[in-house]
């Protein structure tokens, strides 16, 4: 599985959506159930799946699908 597929799976599982829905506007403003529980769940799963330890500001920055990609880039994870 590629890193992108891993990330997509995490999002699909977390928000109960299909991969087609993961577009540029998949963010806290547009996803109704994107609350702190989902966000921290997202951060924990990303940490486990990619074996990294996110900084607090990265967890706070996890407010969109694109944001998650940027956070991964910061940890040199190529998508």
């Amino acid at each position: 599985m590629t890193n992108l597929e891993k990330l997509n799976n995490i999002f699909c599982e977390m928000f109960s959506v299909n991969v087609e829905e993961l577009q540029a506007d998949f963010d806290r403003e547009h996803v109704a159930n994107w609350d702190s529980v989902h966000q921290v769940g997202l951060s924990s799963t990303i940490e486990d799946e990619f074996d990294i330890m996110l900084d607090p500001e990265d967890i706070i920055a996890l407010t969109s699908y694109e944001g998650a990609k940027s956070v991964l880039a910061k940890y040199d994870i190529e998508l």
């Binding site: 977390m14 109960s16 529980v37 989902h38 607090p56 967890i59 706070i60």
Partner: protein, 462 residues
């Protein structure tokens, strides 16, 4: 005036929200007067709450003017809102301006601070004279069951909580728990009563806006549920130097022992107070607290009754005891014990059925020093992420939406749903998340052949 707001210095800042809007105590008085002009008579209003100033002036003005609000989240799921609306028939809505078109057919008759007052078309409500405020019993499962508060309940809670924490006018409390949640409201009421400043924050702990407010506004206290502290730990809160923060308080369920120790260590090394509290919406939020100097030795305890209240235990021999070691259902007495429940519009005419005594439904142990510990629960609900999940209500939601028998149980970590129809099993977690906002990964579904019941219809062997 309500909470003696008019007796505070007129130019003192009463509330600042996360859009940097500020109101003084004088402004709160002025809004109450404006409300009285447009809404002069006693009636029922649904207040669709958000942690913003517009929401708060609805609360202070309506209570001051003896108009009764039902405070619910502005994010209440629509069918649950419709159920409440049809059940209680409010004459007005006080809601964010941007939601008017979605919820109301009429034009607003008054707007202030991004909120609007709209007539619904329902007639003036018939209300018991001493009824002040209504709150849902469960934050989210949307049962139409409400808690009925008296005017004295609100003041007694504000006064007791002010005394419990020693709140002075120089406090700046970060109020980030939702206003529609009894403890969130208690933070607001107690600080206004004390003439302090409320930092009303609608941002989640995972939003940079929360941290900006905490630091830039030099918050002196924060109040959270166990889940708040799980998040704070994750965000390395316990390594932060926040010199203005003096008090950390917690309620809304039990902290893990590990997290409790982390908070105590943090507070001890930085010269802050940690005060754990216990309460129920049936008793206007707070009922018990563990004094800060006991936090390191009485781990996990809810402590003693708050000032103005009394705790006791009804033990297995059905004897009520007030001191010494004992175990049994905890009972609370005090002026903050609410009037009772409402299940229908007619119930809004009911008087006080509790008479100042609340059987809490919590099983407790009292140690030789008089400190109480929660060890179990008699009532059918869970508290997950600070959300109160009524099991009967979740069962109703499932039965209404699917053709299956079901039974709910669980812990404060996980809701367990047993269903008899395997076809619907996979869709249950998403349904529950949609209706109650409980994170679907905290729902475990099990398919069973049959839910066993006794002759009275009560579920057995679960």
């Amino acid at each position: 005036m309500f909470l003696n707001i008019d007796q505070k210095p007129k130019d003192k800042v009463a509330v600042i929200d996360d859009s940097a809007t500020e109101l003084t105590y004088g402004d709160l008085c002025r809004y109450a007067d404006e409300f009285r002009e447009v809404l002069p008579s006693r009636t029922l209003v649904f207040l669709l709450a958000e942690n913003r100033i517009g929401s708060l002036i609805g609360y202070t003005s309506l209570l001051n003017n003896h108009v009764v609000p039902l405070i619910i989240s502005s994010a209440t799921e629509r069918t649950l809102f419709d159920n409440l609306y049809a059940t209680y028939r409010p004459e007005y809505l006080w809601l964010p301006v941007e939601k008017v078109a979605e919820y109301a057919a009429n034009e607003p008759i008054y707007t202030a601070q991004g909120y609007a007052l709209v007539r619904t078309g329902y007639p003036q409500a018939q209300l018991y004279d001493d009824l002040s405020l209504l709150l849902p019993t469960s934050g989210s499962t949307g049962s139409p069951k409400l808690v009925r508060h008296s005017y004295r309940n609100i003041e007694a809670n504000a006064e007791n909580v002010m005394n419990l924490f020693g709140i002075t006018p120089s406090e700046r409390a970060l109020a980030s728990l939702p206003m529609h949640y009894t403890m969130g409201l208690s933070v607001i009421a107690s600080h206004l009563y004390a003439g302090a400043t409320v930092l009303l924050c609608g941002k989640s702990l995972l939003d940079a806006g929360f941290w900006k407010m905490l630091r830039d506004r030099e918050a002196t206290s924060i109040t959270g549920v166990p889940y708040s502290y799980e998040l704070l730990a994750k965000l390395r809160f316990f390594r932060m130097d926040l010199p203005h923060l003096t008090t950390i308080t917690q309620g809304g369920g039990k902290l893990t022992e590990e997290l409790w120790r982390q908070i105590v260590d943090y507070c001890q090394s930085r010269g802050k107070r940690f005060i754990a509290t216990y309460g129920q919406s049936e008793c206007t939020a707070r009922m018990a607290y563990l004094p800060a100097h006991l936090a390191a030795t009485k781990i996990g305890s809810i402590g003693i009754a708050e000032p103005g209240g009394q705790l006791s235990i009804v033990n297995n021999d059905n004897i009520e005891t007030f001191e010494g070691e004992d175990t049994g259902e905890m009972v609370y007495r005090g002026e903050n014990v609410t009037l009772g429940y409402a299940n229908s519009c007619d119930d809004l005419m009911l008087g006080d059925v509790n008479h100042g005594v609340m059987h809490t439904g919590d099983l407790t142990r009292r140690d030789a020093d008089g400190c109480y510990y929660i060890i179990g629960r008699l009532k059918r609900f869970l508290k997950i992420f600070g959300l109160r999940i009524g099991l009967d209500e979740v069962e109703n939601i499932i039965r209404t939406n699917y053709d299956t028998d079901c039974y709910c149980s669980g812990t404060d970590e996980k809701l367990i749903v047993k269903v008899t129809n395997p076809v619907v099993a996979d869709s249950i977690p998403t349904l529950i998340e949609d209706k109650t906002h409980l994170f679907h990964q905290r729902v475990e579904v099990m398919v069973v052949d049959k839910i066993l019941r006794n002759e009275a219809g009560k579920v057995i062997n679960q």
